[in-house]
């Protein structure tokens, strides 16, 4: 059992993504308490693709239920390699005067998801990000595993 939808690479598709997660969670019987964090991770990954991706193919999102949560896969066709689990570290201890807007999205993805895996297929030029969110213990951070296409 799984739910799948494709989204155009436009920022305003975020509303459609949120509508998709709401309906998918309901149909899959996934814990609704997790949906805010799943939406957050999806928004950050999707906006990253919209801002920096050079392809035009729609972005596919799959949600499957797992024990106490969901596994979500974000697939970007026509993609350049960019491993989101290896984004530059962010110093969250800086005072306001030394902070600059931006750069926090992928840091927060690593904090909110239970695990994040990145995979890239050179031949297909396909990027795949797989993350899990469960109602188990608070998110431990990133898992730099292989989310092969």
């Amino acid at each position: 059992m799984s739910e799948r939808a494709c989204f155009a690479r436009r920022i305003d598709a975020i509303a459609d993504i949120f509508a998709f997660t709401a309906s998918a969670f309901a149909r899959l019987g996934a814990p609704d308490a997790l949906r805010t964090e799943v939406d957050f991770v999806l928004e950050e990954l999707f906006t990253n693709i919209v801002k920096y991706g050079r392809g035009e193919a729609p972005v596919t999102i799959d949600i499957v239920p797992i024990s106490d949560g969901v596994e979500v896969t974000v697939t970007e066709a026509d993609a350049d390699r960019f491993d989101v689990t290896r984004a530059p570290a962010v110093d969250v201890t800086l005072p306001a005067e030394r902070r600059q807007p931006g750069g926090l999205g992928l840091h927060l993805v690593g904090r909110l998801a239970d695990s994040v895996q990145y995979g890239y297929s050179e031949g297909e030029r396909c990027s795949r990000i797989v993350f899990r969110k469960t109602s188990a213990a608070p998110a431990p951070g990133r898992d730099n595993g292989d989310g092969r296409c």
Binding site: I11, D12, I14, A15, F18, T36, E37, D39, F40, E43, E44, T47, V92, T93, L94, P95, A96, E97, R99, Q100, P101, G102, L104, G105, H107, L108, R111, L112
Partner: protein, 98 residues
């Protein structure tokens, strides 16, 4: 969906979801305010990094003119985001009493 109202002598009330599609409108609204600006987040259900950018830019502008940004009625989701981003150390945050 997001609504924003208030300001001046009253708190600014944010209701709904502050995501990347709403950030520019909220930034434009907050850019008109000065002094100590209180954001009532009691009905703010969701905040992404785009929203954090709006809050940081606003706070830095206000600090430069002797003011600041303070947040009230902050729910668990927002508290987590502020904690993980270190914003709980740079903004005055009052949790949701509910």
């Amino acid at each position: 969906m997001l609504t924003i109202e208030g300001g001046g002598e009253r708190p600014v009330v944010l209701s709904g979801r502050l995501d990347a599609t709403q950030a520019a409108a909220v930034q434009a609204y907050l850019d008109r305010l000065d002094g100590v600006v209180t954001l009532d987040c009691g009905e703010l259900q969701y905040l992404s990094s785009a929203g954090l950018g709006v809050l940081l830019k606003t706070h830095k502008r206000l600090l430069g003119a002797g003011g600041r940004l303070r947040l009230t009625a902050v729910n668990r989701h927002l508290r987590d985001i502020f904690s993980y981003s270190g914003f709980d150390q740079i903004l005055e945050i009052e949790p949701d009493g509910r």
